[in-house]
Symmetry: C2
Subunit: 119 residues, 2 copies
DNA sequence: TGTCATACCTCAAACTCATAGGTATCCTCC
DNA sequence: GGAGGATACCTATGAGTTTGAGGTATGACA
């Protein structure tokens, strides 16, 4: 009952994938990421701070991210960047997402053809 | 803290979508669905019985599915079909999946361009 | 002074899904 | 005739993720 084996996380691990992807472009801090995800998806994806901060901590603990505290105009920001371990993880995650998204897409498309044929 | 509002279920509601889709093509029973999902996705998607059966019950309770018990060769099967309510739900779910899958895809693609430009 | 945006954080509860169990019938092979 | 596997249903525990709501503190603006 310990480790998950099947459907490795993609039917609810999108936040992690998105974080690794965005951070692989440039280092960012938590609050910025929350806004960026919302912006880049035109509002379709909206992960709250309660989702992002714990996830950042988890990824750092796991070694996929490293952080550095910055003071900007009296405010303190924690800026994260992807480690080399995280880069590998990102590639693996992207591959898994692709496989799953294609599979789901194919099933939904299959429905189209079915309907077209039977109509 | 009661009802979920954001990210309406698609970062972990794929099993539900797939069930509604497959059942909208033809009525099927639980055990058959478990195999069908595995087959149609070439093994990429694998939802166990412990996922499918409770979900079928939930969808029926909610009014998206109706069931009928069949006896076939001494074995008892519970065959499910999509109700008109379920058909609407399926359309809504498909639309949501599309939006989210496209958003995630766009973010991942964005990464490609970024890299191409900066390299 | 109050309020809003920025910026960090944590916790409780809700939810889903995986794993592992349980029952019972049928078929095949030995 | 018995063992084992496939078929077919089911539930329960628990791991893991995400939501929603809260809390702290600074800076900007009116």
């Amino acid at each position: 009952m310990a480790t998950r084996k099947t459907n490795p996380d993609f039917l609810n691990g999108v936040p992690e994938l998105v974080l690794l992807e965005l951070l692989s472009r440039r280092p960012m801090y938590g609050y910025e990421l929350v806004q960026a995800i919302k912006d880049e998806s035109s509002g379709a994806l909206e992960f709250g701070e309660g989702c992002i901060y714990p996830l950042l901590h988890k990824l750092e603990e796991r070694g996929d991210l490293s952080s550095r505290r910055l003071d900007v105009g009296g405010r303190s920001r924690v800026v994260y960047r992807v480690t080399s371990k995280g880069t590998k993880q990102r590639a693996a995650s992207m591959a898994q997402w692709s496989t799953i998204a294609e599979s789901v897409g194919r099933i939904l498309q299959g429905g189209k053809y079915e309907q077209a044929r039977s109509t």
